[in-house]
Each structure stands twice: as structure tokens, then as C-alpha cells.
């Protein structure tokens, strides 16, 4: 009797787990069904490397958006990753408990701010600042990178911090006992040992950046041309969907789903890379 109950409960949980998976399958299949016809019609190469996006004229090239996504994500990583890693080193190695008790939840709080608030703040503070001090229209790759750099901080800080804290005490003690200073220990022992965790945090942070939509729509300018400098406006894959879905119909709508396919593939690649690094780190 008891055995049966256990089995039922086990199977029940299995069914629930399966239902989450089926949602993923449902979404993937749906995006593919909607998006593939357009890719087939335009040709995969022309779709990905096409320079012109003008759905009303039947031109569906998303290369400028791929460049846009990559450039804001790389920009966000350049600004955000060093800051975040320094922050996690501070929290694990330097901060007195009283300070880290305030700083840690404060950084986690950043993750709880809705992205539309980031976008609005960027539009009212960062965009005018860029326009006044650096020139250009203000809505730019730089503005998007700054906003995203802040948004990915909590992800990178918390995962990096956990991976440094998870290191065996002996690493640090051994290094200090050999006469290395605190900084030398951090630089040559702790950071290399926590490398896989830190790399994972960076990749997950970039995944977050490349998928962000709302905040980016507001500060990026959404122009469909290739950005020539970081002060030019640009459009990412996500904002292409976000800004045009309102009125899109027919082939135009399908092309937006096709944009979603490309995005899905990029994010899957990033996540697989993160998994791979975690596994290599364990071996």
C-alpha cells in the first residue's frame, strides 16, 4: 500500500515535470512552424546575412540586427564583467561582514527592478548625457550597453561569488602559508581555481543581455542600419520583434518568428557553452 502511494507520488511529479518540458516543446515547435516558411522562401543565407529589412517590400535580412545584438552584448560584457568580478572578489575577500550584509542584498535587488524601469531611467538620464557630452542622438549602442551592463551585474556577481566561496579553504591557507600576499593569493590561486564558475556566470549574464527587450527598445533607437560607431542607434533581434509585432501580419509576422528562431539558437548555444564549462570544471 505504502509502496503504491510512493509510486503514485513519484509518477505525479514526473508528469508535472513533463508538462513544463512540453511547454518548451510547444513553444519551439510553434516558432518553427511559423518562422521556417519565410526562411525557406528567402533562403537561410539571405535571411541571416541580408543587409536590408523592409517587410513591406518583402526584404527580410536580419544581419544588422545580429550585429546590433552582438555589439550591445559585447559592450555590456566589457563594462559589466570587470565590475561584477571585482564586486564578487570584494564581497568574498575584503568586505567586513557588516558591509557585505548590506551590499549583497543590494546587488540582488538590482535583479528585481523591472526592465521597463531600467529603460525609462536610461532614457531620462543616460541618453541625454550621451547626447550632450559625446554627441549623436543619444539613443545608441553605448546607451544600450550601459543599461545592460547594470542589468547583468546581479547574475555575474552572485554566481562568481558562490564559485569563489565554494573553493576549499586549503587553497587560500596554503597560498598564504607559502608567503603569498592576500592579493597574490586572489590573483594566482583563487581566481584561476574559480575560473569555470566565473566563466559560466559571464556566459549566463550575456544570455540575459542578448534576450533583454524592453529596456533596450527604449534606449537603442531601433534603426535598421548597421551601427558605424557606439554612438549610432541600432536594433537587436529582440527589439525587432518587440517593436514591430503590434501591426505585423502575414509574411511580416512570420519573419518576426523567424527572428525568434535565430535568437533561440543563439541562446541555446550560449547555454550549452555554459553547461560545457561547468562540466569541464568538474573533471
Amino acid at each position: 500500500m505504502n509502496n503504491l502511494k510512493e509510486k503514485l507520488i513519484g509518477n505525479g511529479f514526473f508528469l508535472i515535470a513533463l508538462s513544463t518540458l512540453s511547454v518548451l516543446a510547444l513553444i519551439t515547435v510553434f516558432i518553427l512552424i511559423e518562422g521556417v516558411p519565410v526562411i525557406a522562401k528567402v533562403g537561410l543565407f539571405n535571411f541571416i546575412f541580408g543587409m536590408k529589412w523592409a517587410p513591406s517590400q518583402g526584404a527580410f535580412g536580419i544581419f544588422p540586427m545580429i550585429v546590433g545584438s552582438v555589439s550591445v552584448t559585447v559592450g555590456a560584457a566589457l563594462l559589466g564583467v570587470p565590475t561584477a568580478i571585482c564586486c564578487s572578489i570584494f564581497l568574498t575577500e575584503f568586505a567586513p561582514p557588516a558591509v557585505s550584509k548590506i551590499v549583497r542584498p543590494a546587488i540582488q535587488l538590482l535583479a528585481g527592478i523591472p526592465s521597463v524601469v531600467y529603460g525609462f531611467w536610461g532614457l531620462t538620464f543616460i541618453v541625454p548625457a550621451i547626447r550632450n557630452f559625446l554627441g549623436g542622438p543619444g539613443l545608441s549602442v553605448l546607451a544600450g550597453s550601459i543599461i545592460l551592463a547594470i542589468m547583468i551585474l546581479p547574475t555575474i556577481v552572485s554566481i562568481s561569488e558562490v564559485s569563489i566561496l565554494a573553493l576549499p579553504r586549503q587553497y587560500k591557507e596554503g597560498s598564504l602559508a607559502l608567503g603569498a600576499t592576500h592579493w597574490q593569493t586572489i590573483r594566482s590561486v583563487l581566481l584561476p581555481a574559480a575560473k569555470s564558475g566565473i566563466m559560466t556566470s559571464v556566459i549566463l549574464g550575456m544570455g540575459r543581455a542578448i534576450g533583454e527587450t524592453m529596456a533596450v527598445i527604449m534606449v537603442l533607437g531601433n534603426a535598421v542600419a548597421l551601427p558605424k560607431s557606439i554612438l549610432d542607434p541600432a536594433r537587436t533581434l529582440t527589439t525587432n520583434i518587440g517593436i514591430e509585432m503590434g501591426y505585423a501580419s502575414g509574411e511580416h509576422q512570420q519573419a518576426l518568428f523567424a527572428t525568434g528562431i535565430v535568437l533561440l539558437v543563439i541562446i541555446m548555444l550560449l547555454n550549452s557553452a555554459a553547461q560545457l564549462i561547468v562540466q569541464r570544471g568538474r573533471d
Binding site: P64, A223, P233
Partner: protein, 261 residues
Amino acid sequence: MCALIFSMCLLSACGNKTKAGIIVAGSTSVQPFAEALAEEYMHLNPGTLIDIQGGGSSAGVMAAKSDTANVGMSSRELTTEEKSLWYVEIAKDGLAVIIHPKNPIANLTMEQIRGIYTAEISNWGELGGSNSSIHVITREEGSGTRSAFESLVMGGAEITPKAMVQDSNGAVRQLVEDDPAAIGFISLGLVNDKVKALEMEGIAASRENIINGSYRLSRPFLFVTHTEPEGDTKKFIDFTLSAEGQRLLAAEGLITTGKES
């Protein structure tokens, strides 16, 4: 999702038919004004249900033609083929080309605006303004305001891909408010004192000039029905065209023909 939305539309359509309601569908530019009209109409005629749906001008005309909706809304002229349906202009909407109030330029020709939007003219200096590059702002593909601008101003020429794209009248106005080098276009009813509406070939963007036809950037807002309207549909359209309905539309910022006063 399409199927889901479609079936939901169908369901709501059935639901309303039994209550002798009116379904109005189409242009999202006309939608807010139709909603204001419907609200007032339902207030005056309790028991009548009016359901306003979006979808775009073409979808609205199609819906009227296929009887999916009692009334279709269009924010563009009908094509010759579509003109076989019954239609009436409920008001006009003006399109204003706006710049920052500090920009010294007050008047441009259609040619010059086209030049700016094709990126042939890229500096305000070329137009007699200060020496700074022009920040061109447009609406997203598929927007009715954009297609109106394209047909009224661009004449087949393509809007430069370098133009920044915003997805609402409000967002365009906000950017122009903030950026002295920006230019954009919005519904005339939404122009406020923080932006400057350009004169077009010396003619101010005003209600009078749109009614007398001298200011050319305007588009009609149409109600379309399959056949001559009757019953509740006719009552609602009559209300829209009555002095009261027209006053309401004018108060919401549209250009009415002046019958309401």
C-alpha cells in the same frame, strides 16, 4: 496563436450577436476615437453593446466585407476595389512634422522633408539651420501613421534605414522634445507646446488649413460597412456623424468638418 486569437474573436463575436451588439474593427489609429464614441453611445443607449477591436485598416475593411464586423475602421483612403463597400468619412487626422522648439527652422517644402527622410539632406545647416546632423525619427513598419507619411510625403521613396524607429506617437514626441537636432512626425492632435510643428510650404499645420485643403498632410478616418447600414449599426454611425459625435471627436483632437458648431 493566430488560431487561438481567431477563435476568441469568433467567440466574442457570437456572444455579442446574441445581445444585438455592434462589432467595430480595424485601424488602431481610429480605435481610441471609436472607443470614446462607443463609451458615450453606450452611456446614452443602455443595453446596446459596442465591441471595438484593432487589427489594422486592411483587416478592418476585410472584416466589414466578410461581415465579421458590422463596421470596419480605416485610417487610409480605400482602394478602387474597396470602394464598392459603403463608407463614410467620420473625421480627418492631420499629420504634423515636428522639431525641437529651439530649432530655428519653421518652414520646409515637401521636397526638403523627403530629402531628410531619404538621408540626402543630413545636416540642419543645409536647410539654413545650425550646423548639426539631423536625427531622423520614424515609426515602425506596419504603423498606419508611417504608411500615411510614406504615401503623403515620400511618394515611393524609401525612408532611410538609419532613421531611429519608435513605436508610438508619444515616444516620437518625447524624443523630439529632448533632442534639438531631431525631426519626427505625429498625429496633429498630439502636438503640444514642447515641440514645434513645421509649416509645409508656408502653410501652417492647422485645423482650418486641413479643412480647406491647403495643408496636404492629412488622412481620412473612415467607417466602412458591407452594405448601406441599418438598425443599430446605422444608429451608431448616425451618432458619430451627429453634432454631438463630431464634437466628441474634435475634443479628442481630430479634424471634423465643422458641422458640430
